[in-house]
């Protein structure tokens, strides 16, 4: 239960500047996701907050107290690592209890807390097993158990689900989000997967090359991306970008429209402002159809609900929803109003 504030946080490794300067305010009890492409500095930023790396400059305040000089264990944050980083020679019980033991807590209290954490995470039958005798999902739970048992002020997750299969990832995603809400503990969650970010976050931080491109709620990012990078990063399939005459007509350098905001109709004719094209690939998901069409503006992606009877080679007319066109200026910033 803590607010976490970053102020002018900078990090360089030797001559390489990984985080050029970040300001960020994370509210108490909120679930904040850092998302961005691989290598953009998400882990580094998280490790700076954890105290596993020293900041080059700037302040990190937890509940208003600058913790830059405070060692990791004293910051009151606990971390779930991508590799889980369980202690292989300790039982599940030993793993979960380790931090409490290090804190010199008495045995009865440790037992009580470990039992409670295990019950929350459905680990009770496995308490005496070694990590190597657990499945991936169970190991993940142990790692989470190790984090919650300390009753920290905040959780830090570094891509915790990336080693799980797709079905388990969806399930754990839900469990982590539910757990965080029920504990009411501030959480920072790092991922490169924008679906994870959109589904779990109260607020998303989109990072690019160590800079915050936008900080806002998932819907805010979806509906009002601040710039081309966020517009292209959030949403799947990716937003279509068009430059040239159609953009100039709307007073922008680039316009963007999401695949789900492009209507498609067979044939060569359509209203003004629509684009003609030819289907190159049609992906049929049952619930949705993704069409990729060649137009004079380049490849345009369309996401249509349900099944539409179009196949490669068909001529189509693409009609962007004019109310949901995003406009960007020369520098890539969104034009509002």
């Amino acid at each position: 239960m803590a607010s976490i504030t970053l102020q002018g946080v900078r990090k360089t490794f030797g001559a390489v500047e990984v985080i050029p300067g970040v300001d960020l305010a994370i509210e108490d009890k909120s679930f904040v996701v850092f998302v961005g492409p691989s290598g953009c500095g998400k882990s580094t930023l998280l490790r700076l907050i954890a105290g596993l790396e020293d900041v080059t400059a700037g302040q990190i305040r937890i509940d208003g107290v600058d913790v830059v000089q405070v060692p990791p264990a004293k910051r009151g944050l606990s971390m779930v690592f991508q590799s889980y980083a369980l202690y292989p020679h300790m039982s599940v019980r030993g793993n979960i209890a380790f931090a409490l033991k290090m804190a010199g807590m008495n045995k009865a209290e440790i037992d009580r807390r470990v039992t409670a954490a295990a019950a929350t995470l459905n680990l009770t039958p496995y308490l005496d097993r070694k990590p190597r005798d657990l499945s991936g999902g169970q190991r993940q739970r142990v790692a989470i158990g190790r984090a919650i048992v300390r009753e920290p002020k905040g959780f830090l997750f570094d891509e915790p689900l990336s080693n799980l299969d797709a079905a388990l990832r969806v399930q754990m995603r839900l469990e982590i989000a539910t757990l965080q809400k029920s504990l009411g503990t501030t959480a920072i969650y790092v991922t490169h997967d924008q679906v994870e970010a959109m589904t779990m976050a109260d607020k998303i931080v989109v990072l690019n090359a160590g800079r915050i491109e936008q900080y806002g709620s998932p819907l805010e990012l979806y509906e009002r991306p601040a710039n081309l990078f966020v517009a292209g990063f959030i949403g799947s399939p990716k937003m279509n970008f068009v430059t040239g005459a159609p953009a100039a007509a709307l007073g922008a350098a680039t316009i963007g429209v999401r695949p789900e905001h492009v209507a498609v109709r067979p044939g060569a004719d359509g209203p003004r402002g629509s684009w003609s094209g030819r289907v190159t690939v049609a992906e049929h998901l049952g619930s949705d159809t993704f069409l990729f069409a060649d137009t004079e503006l380049g490849t345009v992606t369309v996401r249509a609900a349900g099944e539409i009877g179009l196949k490669p080679g068909d001529s189509v007319r693409l009609i962007p929803d004019s109310a949901r066109i995003h406009r960007f200026d020369q520098a890539g910033r969104a034009i509002r109003g």
Binding site: A73, F81, A85
Partner: protein, 290 residues
């Protein structure tokens, strides 16, 4: 080895070497067992008759046997303790990022490449010599009385020499193991509030349990038969102070020319080695599982 065919192929190709190895190791063993039941003295031409277990009872009841058994265990045990403890510490130190690490590594590893006889001679004449040795010189310059190592602490002297030779081996294995310790585990421990000592005991040492077992097993095999260091320095003395089983067998065979008795001693040594090995595997071998 997926199919039956590759299995058969594999076996038939390896068979000759396996057979050769068997013959290689079994023939001397068979000969030794045979000699151990005969009266066979190199000084007595009337050798060769079957004497039953006489050689064994003679060897086992010889007071020198118990003394050398004890010496063997003391030597093996002490060297194991010294090399494992120091090896772990040195490995942990060498695992830190230090400037000039490559040179330090080379220096730590170097003793392993020195032949036992050579290193024993160096220790005997250049380091531990009561008059001209380095230790004596140090003791003198500190105003202390130099120790006459091989007269007053012969076993300790042998232990130090042998431990010095085996320290690099232990260090190397443990250092390699340390380098495979997952960095995130150490960071997790840091987040969990473990200080340097807790991290060392709960994480590092636990991680090293298996390689330490390997070091102990391998070293034991070689330490049971330490010979050159004793031969070169103390010759098993004074008295029986540094005579181990290997040296006792040697003195039976080549000092007393009693091949039969020495063979019996050799077989006893083989049995003892097996007992110790079984014991060790039981004791620490469970670390090797999984």
């Amino acid at each position: 080895m997926a199919t039956r065919q590759t299995q058969i192929l594999g076996r038939s190709v390896t068979a000759p070497s396996v057979l050769l190895l068997l013959a290689w190791s079994l023939a001397p063993l068979a000969a030794t067992i045979y000699f151990s039941f005969t009266y066979y003295n190199l000084l007595n031409p009337a050798s060769g008759q079957f004497v039953g277990i006489d050689n064994y009872s003679y060897f086992l009841t010889d007071p020198a046997f118990l003394a050398s058994l004890k010496n063997t265990l003391v030597l093996v045990g002490s060297v194991l303790v010294i090399t494992v403890v120091l090896g772990t510490l040195v490995a942990v130190l060498m695992n830190q990022p230090v400037i000039g690490l490559n040179i330090v590594r080379l220096m730590v590893i170097a003793p392993f490449f020195v032949m036992p006889t050579v290193s024993a001679l160096v220790w005997k004449n250049l380091l531990m010599h009561p008059v001209s040795g380095l230790f004596a010189w140090i003791a003198n310059s500190l105003g202390l009385h130099p120790i006459d190592w091989f007269a007053n602490a012969p076993m300790l002297a042998v232990i130090l020499i042998v431990a010095w030779q085996w320290l690099p081996f232990a260090t190397l294995i443990l250092l390699t193991a340390l380098q495979s310790l997952d960095g995130e585990q150490l960071e997790a421990a840091e987040m969990d509030g473990a200080g340097p000592f807790s991290t060392f005991f709960y994480i590092t040492l636990a991680h090293l349990a298996r390689p330490i077992t390997v070091v102990i097993l391998i070293e034991t095999i070689f330490l049971l038969s330490v010979f050159a260091e004793i031969f070169v320095t103390t010759g098993g003395g004074p008295g029986l102070a540094t005579t181990n089983i290997a040296f006792l067998i040697y003195s039976q065979a080549l000092i007393q020319y009693d091949v039969g008795g020495a063979s019996a001693g050799g077989i006893v040594a083989v049995i003892l080695a097996n007992i110790v090995a079984t014991f060790l595997v039981r004791l620490v071998g469970k670390n090797l599982e999984a």
